[in-house]
Subunit: 413 residues, 4 copies
């Protein structure tokens, strides 16, 4: 369905060629300062036509707040958001319409609903993500003010072009060939990148890969796909900093489970991993385990972060990082041998101009979905902690059930 979240609930609407796209956000904390500009920044980062690397269709995508705020402050009531579609006239028929686009949603939407939008992607269009990005921008604003939480996504690969091993996530670091050899794929430089990267830095590069040389290679790769009327995929990595410990709702709504859910609901995604991810499956426990250390704030932290900030489905206070795989866009203008809806074999060449690679524009969408997961988890945990705080402390519990300071434990034994 088109609702995400339980406490901070986002419901979106809109197809590529209807009057408008938008969202209702229900459960936004009251008393939050909010103006359209707070939302517009991320909408504009999502917008097509930002560079040669994306589709030239230039939509303005101005957001209009319909409800839920007054004098620039949220009321705690549902926030209605609306972005008009510039072109909402369905197109005329063409020969092309005889064909469901291979690997696109044309066929499956028709199978599911028995009827489909006549033009463009309909509900499967990337315009659907406008509602997500807007809702995420509001969530982010709360998280930033209330917790200092920072969310930054960036492109880590395009096709086979990826960040150099020293600043790459574990997955992009080559493994030693010998199966006995110890893995060393969690580089300090990458961990430093995670802890310092900013959106400003990312946006210096139209590819949104914050590494000059790799950016240039990616740009060439994308232009090559564009020139060939073809497309190419890539990956986006995202870090969430300053997340409090204790978020995540086991056993089914673990932090990584909801995060994976959120990310895999973005169009064109096929893969998700958190922390060491697939690469970490090769690393023995003795090396993969993150040792505890006392941090400057007097809390426990870990000295490495293979876990990606989540243990047992619950955040531990370390940086959360994860990677998402986006497939090559399905709509390409070169000829493809395929079949029509009625099964007749033939050749399709899609018309129009299409993104040869979605990952640069996917960056704000990933950030938005991350924000939606975190705010929902924050509210759930606040409800629990607020309730538990009202109960008297129980002094008779065995120390293993609460946090056992050494001296007490020894004494008791």
């Amino acid at each position: 369905m088109s609702t995400f979240g339980s406490y901070y609930r986002v419901t979106t609407f809109g197809e590529s060629h209807c009057s408008s796209v938008g969202a209702i956000i229900d459960g936004c904390p009251p008393g939050l300062q909010l103006t359209p500009e707070d939302i517009q920044t991320q909408l504009s980062r999502r917008r097509p036509g930002q560079s040669d690397l994306t589709t030239p269709r230039n939509e303005k995508d101005l957001v209009h707040i319909q409800s839920g705020t007054e004098h620039g402050v949220t009321l705690g009531t549902p926030i209605g958001l609306l972005v008009k579609n510039e072109d909402h006239r369905p197109k005329d028929y063409t020969e092309t319409d005889l064909y469901p686009r291979p690997s696109h949603a044309d066929y499956t939407y028709l199978e599911k609903y028995g009827v489909k939008a006549s033009s463009g992607g309909g509900r499967s269009s990337a315009r659907e993500t406008i509602g997500r990005v807007a809702a995420g921008a509001i969530a982010e604003r709360f998280l930033k003010i209330a917790y200092g939480i920072e969310i930054v996504a960036f492109v880590t690969s395009v096709g086979k072009i990826h960040l150099p091993a020293n600043v790459a996530p574990p997955a992009l670091v080559p493994s030693p060939e010998d199966e006995d050899e110890v893995e060393d794929s969690l580089s300090p430089e990458f961990q430093k990148l995670l802890s310092t990267i900013t959106r400003e830095e990312v946006d210096k590069y139209p590819s949104r890969c914050p590494h000059q040389e790799t950016h240039e290679r990616m740009t060439k790769r994308i232009m090559r796909a564009k020139d060939a009327n073809d497309s190419i995929g890539g990956t986006v990595t995202c870090v969430i900093r300053n997340v409090p410990s204790g978020l995540g709702e086991p056993v089914f709504d673990k932090f990584e489970a909801k995060l994976g859910h959120a990310m895999l609901s973005i169009p064109a995604t096929k893969a998700f991993e958190i922390g060491s991810g697939f690469k970490g499956t090769e690393v023995p426990g003795s090396k993969h385990n993150d040792p505890f250390v006392l941090k400057d704030d007097g809390k426990l932290g870990t000295s490495s972060n293979w876990s990606g900030g989540v243990q047992g489905g619950i955040t531990n206070g370390e940086d959360i990082y994860f990677r998402i795989g986006f497939k090559s866009p399905a709509t390409i203008t070169q000829e493809q041998k395929t079949a029509q809806y009625d099964g007749t074999p033939g050749t399709l060449a899609a018309r129009g101009r299409h993104d040869p690679c979605v990952v640069p524009r996917a960056v704000p969408i990933v950030e938005a979905m991350a924000a939606l997961v975190v705010i929902d988890m924050v509210l759930a945990q606040n409800a629990r902690k607020g309730a538990a705080a009202l109960l008297p402390a129980i002094t008779t519990l065995p120390l293993t059930m609460v946090m056992p300071p050494k001296e007490k434990l020894v004494q008791q034994q």
Copy 2:
């Protein structure tokens, strides 16, 4: 929280050392023949102590149906399931209890709840998965009878040991080094394996990797970890066959989004990919797109299956396959430098016997969670189709909104 699913809702309970673990299944279709044996088979496949590769703790794990059936048939009312814990006495304190186990849930549960079970993993224990497996077995039974749906999972890698390229999922096939070279990682042998593999075949191998040579290498790798008081991770691949087209609830509850959610809620998972997954991000659209062809049953199908049976978040009728990464188990008996709850640095060596590698036992859990996703999607789509079927056909719609047979489309123009 501990409920999964909207229409077929599973709610589980139970910690490692409480009286029992179990589940309530609400929304199971009425009139389904069901006996404890239908559930027990999968519970026994999940059970520890099945081979040298798993923990020797021998639990019987017999399921007791409390409600929801009579004379071996489901009533449509909630099905209560219960499996007793053999050992439910909390243990005595030891020095070990001063330490939160690195990369385990000890620390995060305490941060979240302010209190934790005194023994074993508590709610984060693998015993929690008993409820899932039982609920999944019932779902599977319905799906098998109603649709002929088959779900089979198997181990595709342990540490760096993986299936040979010709029968491996795309992710495990090495890429050509040249970035211009065309990817060819979706082998026909692998596709054939997907379409024919059975649980009986998988169970011939204690590692649950259905390839003799790889199985033997995996076995050695696991025994090596065991001997070193260490642990190792791995991946499980799962195929779902005969799934009807049209399943999945965009835009947030796309098929792969719910599937990813389900899989990443299993303990120790860190990664999920569907179809070509991360590897597919390297393949140009012109090659990655799955061309449509007319199938023998008169419906459209695709001649390749990079998509993994899902397009636009909706199933297309092809085999669904996906891969999950399980990290190396956190509990190891070799010494680890870490810190106590109060921050005091020290050395921890966990006691007891623990799984050196969870992937063989994870196989039925993956199958169960897959079944829970599919049955929920089936019920949602049935509700929609049942409603739409009651409406009169609309004959005035433009052909691009319905399925346009060529002749009509040409005629209309």
Copy 3:
């Protein structure tokens, strides 16, 4: 929260003085013919300024469909609906603002959110119901086409003025004084009224009480309240005809439980009863039970209908009827002794023009909420029945578990 329903999900937004109010409907069956006019009819029946009996504020309340349809047919995707607010400028301060209006939501909204809309009722305004009525109109359209379901509400009392006993619901029929005397409050005339009343008939009377003499008395009573700068309450009775048997989701989402939930979420409601309701508690089981009889369609029905069409929380195919109590509107322009927000005692006289009685305008809101309950239940039951229909018949069940024809039962014994 602002979402109602699980399968057919309505989410509303909007305050009295924001840009617009509206709703998103998610889960509407695809292939339904739908135009703005289908929605407008009910919106116009809800609109203020229809007669002297309601507030003269004249809003146009034109609905704009934003998404989810094409060429006048639903796509199965979310339907965005929007109605502009004519006057959305917050007002200036006045002395009146020092006072929370007694029995209004001013105080409780501030307690809940810590901030509130500065003008009018904000989210607690009756304008909030526009989204409900629009969503309900779409639901009704489906129910009418697919099942022939008819929903008609009408006013049964204003203050102490109520329908005469022979056409009144049980609650409005005086009880015999002797406690041993048998109750006879379910009149045939009332049952006939339920089975024949239409919206056209109801709308002939501005009070929406379809009984000329009572209508006239009610009109006088409302005008008397208006002239006294006072207000008065009333009740609305609603009938739903042609509902299939089997709707309702025990044990918590019984038909009457969801219906009660829906009705008691309408502003100013304080009471709900179904069938014989409170009055029925006085009637002995031997008289209150509805005997089964064979109906013309070959199905079982009941010869009386104290139950109001629901037994065990599930519809039985008979007419569903229920009654809702609306309190006297809180905003009155006569002086009230009360206190300011800071506790200072004083006298408040609200400004502006307000409905002296809400029941005539509540009629389409009640109908809308009824439609939302029924469509959600229909979809839930269709999902179950569609699933059960795919299972083979079980021939070995004891006859008491299925429908036992007499001869077979006797034979088996």
Copy 4:
């Protein structure tokens, strides 16, 4: 479905003749002291066989906690609860089974599920309420400790026997006949009864009507029904004291909407009203409005309480009181003319012993459902307030949006 609540989620299972009935409670605050005795007290109050007024079937109904606590303290994980059924063998066929019991759930369950339990009420049996009562007892315990909340229900009428006007809820006070005469149905004695009544006092009377003379008349009325092999209905009134202001989630999950939902999900309920309820519809706004006054705790309160503690769907801190109507039990042992499942007309006389009146035993069920509503609302509001408390105060808001102290407002103008 069989789950109630969003934050504190209760899921129940069990039929009258299966192995056990029970519940899972998910979302219980961690750190709450809890023993089986805390639950048993209310289960025993619900139990049949407590007096001549209820069915003599003596079930022990001992609760077993399966999970979620250790050393008598909740862990924050799901609490599994189980109560064994003493007699769980389905009965043999009899002639009686040919008939669906009039006004019972036999027919509608079969219509809904296509199959039904062969003995007793199956899932529609009152044994289903055991899970609710147990879950409610835990909720109550938290509410009592954390907020001092008290919930007390009592019987206010049996058939036509009701409490005398001076201590009765508004509904049971006769109206003045003249339509112009002012209503005076909210008696100070009744308000005092609400503020002082205890369970201990209620339990002194087997009828659970805490008024000696009325109790005696009710007892006779029930015995008369019993002797006539007939049954009789009644009403239960419940008060919730010390509820914080701000609870309730408009616009659909208003406090009274969820409360009504909860109450109307209890077997045999047909009616619900809060505060002045139906009677209040007759009272002009000028009298019905509850004036604000400054209370001793420095907060605003109201000097009357027609609203029943809820305004705009949100609690205002005053006592919450409401009334529920229970119909006469459907199962009676006197002969009834009705029809068999196949339509054959005939005469049914139910066998066995049945409650002639359910209201005395309904008291703890009403209390339990009330607790479930309050705890869910408390957690929801805590999540919101906890979030809002993290935001900086906004000093530039117009005073009408926050709480405007008089002097400031005057000054600003």
